[in-house]
């Protein structure tokens, strides 16, 4: 375990995420806690004392809105990624393990899925479900299912051909045991890698939807919404969208670094070779 901490990407990514999560969780303690009351005389204040990130068009404190928005954005991303991970892993392992017609049909359905850009799928699902805080994780999570499906399927296929799986079959082990005891534990680290980058992807998706105006609707602030409200005033007072975007970017960076780090940690091929 010690060697994990030697991986700079994991450490930097982890610290970054930890920091942001901490800020977001401690929001009531480090902000005024008032993210919604309108204060028109103080609108569009530049960052300064009292308002570290300035105020927006309605005079609301951007720092408070970003931290509270993080609560929504992060929880939506976690729920969406969990949904995609559970569904994708399940479908992928079933598809790979049973093979034949099951695999073929699931594969074609996933092909169709992957023919839509994730953003487009999110938009369409959003129309059907009427975007709200509750349904947003579905619009974002469902388009991520193929990511997990593909990874689980290809890894399951290769682990199924490994000697230890064959040995377990020759001892009389049934498919359930093989999947649960041998395949899933060996796929798990790869799931972690995809999970980390999917978290980043979901945060990006939430903010992109928000930017386009189809994110989580008022009044609850989310990062997407803060960006959306700030984008029209980008030229005059870029701090609203600017700081919100910065938070989004740092969080995504953290998850990307973590994912890359775990992948390098698992496959050290490129690091330790000489010829």
């Amino acid at each position: 375990m010690k060697s994990i901490l030697k991986n700079k990407q994991i450490v930097i990514g982890g610290v970054l995420i930890l920091l942001i999560v901490l800020l977001v969780l401690l929001a009531p303690l480090i902000t005024s806690g008032d993210y919604s009351s309108v204060d028109l005389p103080n609108k569009h204040l530049a960052p300064g004392p009292g308002h570290p990130f300035g105020t927006d068009y309605y005079g609301r404190d951007v720092w408070t809105r970003i931290l509270y928005g993080g609560r929504i954005s992060l929880s939506v991303a976690v729920c969406a990624t969990l949904l995609a991970a559970v569904c994708g892993t399940l479908i992928g392992s079933v598809s790979a393990y049973f093979g034949g017609a099951v695999d073929f049909i699931i594969g074609r359905i996933m092909d169709v899925f992957m023919s839509f850009p994730m953003l487009l799928s999110s938009l369409i699902i959003g129309i059907i479900l009427k975007a709200s805080v509750r349904t947003m994780f579905l619009s974002i999570g469902i388009p991520c299912i193929p990511m997990f499906y593909r990874m689980t399927r290809s890894n399951t296929l290769s682990i199924r051909e490994r000697g230890f799986t064959k040995a377990a079959v020759s001892m009389g082990s049934g498919p359930m045991r093989i999947v649960l005891r041998h395949i899933l534990p060996n796929v798990l680290p790869h799931i972690l890698v995809v999970f980390s980058s999917a978290m980043g992807g979901c945060i990006l998706a939430e903010s992109s939807l928000g930017f386009l105006g189809f994110g989580i609707p008022q009044p609850t602030p989310s990062w997407g919404l803060v960006v959306n409200e700030g984008k029209s005033f980008m030229f005059q007072c870029p701090w609203t969208a600017g700081f919100a975007g910065l938070f989004i970017a740092l969080t995504v960076l953290g998850f990307n670094l973590l994912g890359d780090g775990i992948r390098d940690y698992l496959d050290p091929k490129i690091r330790n070779s000489y010829l």
Partner: protein, 311 residues
């Protein structure tokens, strides 16, 4: 090779059909009466009745599907509610500018990114590599709209080089491309793929053979390593081309540039369902086409696919 291309194209037909079905059923899952959904809130009862009749909404889902499929096959994607013009005509007008943006953007950003990736691989572990790595990791973590907003702020508002709004007729066409293309370049998506493919191939045994032959480092890098890394790189470029269609949704909104992405977003804003259905179908079809094109180019590059077997 021709049979490979044919095979690849034919294999896309079921996917395309699946895409059609997905959109068909997705639109039917939108809450509300399909005819009212498709005709908008201002439709008269008479219009609704005509629509019901012509689309067989009183008949079974199967028959509706056949009617819709016929329309799709003949290029009839219905009539836009907000513009009262055929959807296919509007998409036809918007499509070239999106494809132009995708092609120009992907080509320019790929050339730059592959160059940086090769440089990073060549200077592996030294400061150019570290710098390029940090930049590309950050670039990949920045939301496209965020880069776009800053490009717009800096280049349009502060420097005045590019227009704030691109869909005005008085703006020279090339100027509308600058902003989105800069945004795509700054994403630096291909740098890391290039670098890691190069490094992976540098570990291969045939690189050692080339070295043992006395081939210079430069030639190993560009001829042997890049020659092989080209295959995963082309695959990634193809993927980027496909996702540039999605990127267009965001970029065209940021830079207010006409195109299919903007068409889609405007349609969603005013709930113009025939237009949403049409643009979704076309975007998906373009992605499928980009994937086929990529596979074909990869097959042409890779002799293991191009020339198979001995006899």
């Amino acid at each position: 090779m021709i049979s490979y291309i044919l095979k690849r194209i034919i294999s896309a037909v079921p996917t395309l059909l699946g895409v059609f079905l997905a959109v068909f059923f997705a639109v039917r899952m939108i809450p509300g009466d399909p005819a009212e959904v498709m005709l908008g809130a201002n439709a008269t009862q008479e219009q609704i009745d005509i629509y019901r009749e012509s689309h067989g909404l009183n008949r079974s889902v199967g028959e509706q599907l056949v009617i819709a499929l016929k329309g799709f096959a003949t290029g009839d994607l219905g009539t836009s509610v907000s513009y009262s013009r055929p959807v296919s005509e509007m998409i036809g007008t918007a499509l070239p500018s999106t494809i132009e943006l995708a092609l120009v953007g992907v080509v320019i950003s790929s050339v730059i990114a592959v160059g940086l990736g090769v440089l990073a691989a060549a200077k592996r572990g030294r400061w150019p590599d570290i710098l390029i790595n940090i930049l590309s990791t950050v670039g990949m973590s920045l939301p496209t709209f965020y880069i776009g907003l800053w490009v717009l702020t800096i280049f349009a508002s502060k420097l005045g080089i590019i227009p704030v709004i691109s869909n005005r007729p008085d703006i020279p066409h090339y100027k509308t491309l600058i902003g989105p293309v800069i945004t795509m370049v700054l994403g630096l998506t291909l740098v890391r793929t290039t670098r890691s493919s190069m490094l992976e191939i540098m570990e291969e045994d045939f690189i050692r053979t080339a070295k043992a032959k006395g081939v210079s480092r430069k030639s190993i890098l560009f001829r042997h390593a890049l020659g092989n890394a080209l295959i995963p790189i082309i695959t990634m470029i193809g993927y980027n081309l496909a996702s540039a269609m999605a990127g267009a949704i965001v970029l065209e909104t940021v830079f207010v540039r006409n195109g299919i992405g903007k068409l889609l977003i405007d349609a969603i804003t005013v709930r113009d369902y025939p237009m949403i259905q049409g643009t979704a179908l076309v975007i998906a079809a373009l992605m499928i086409a980009a994937n086929i094109l990529t596979d074909i180019i990869v097959a042409l590059t890779d002799p293991r696919i191009r020339v198979t077997g001995e006899s």
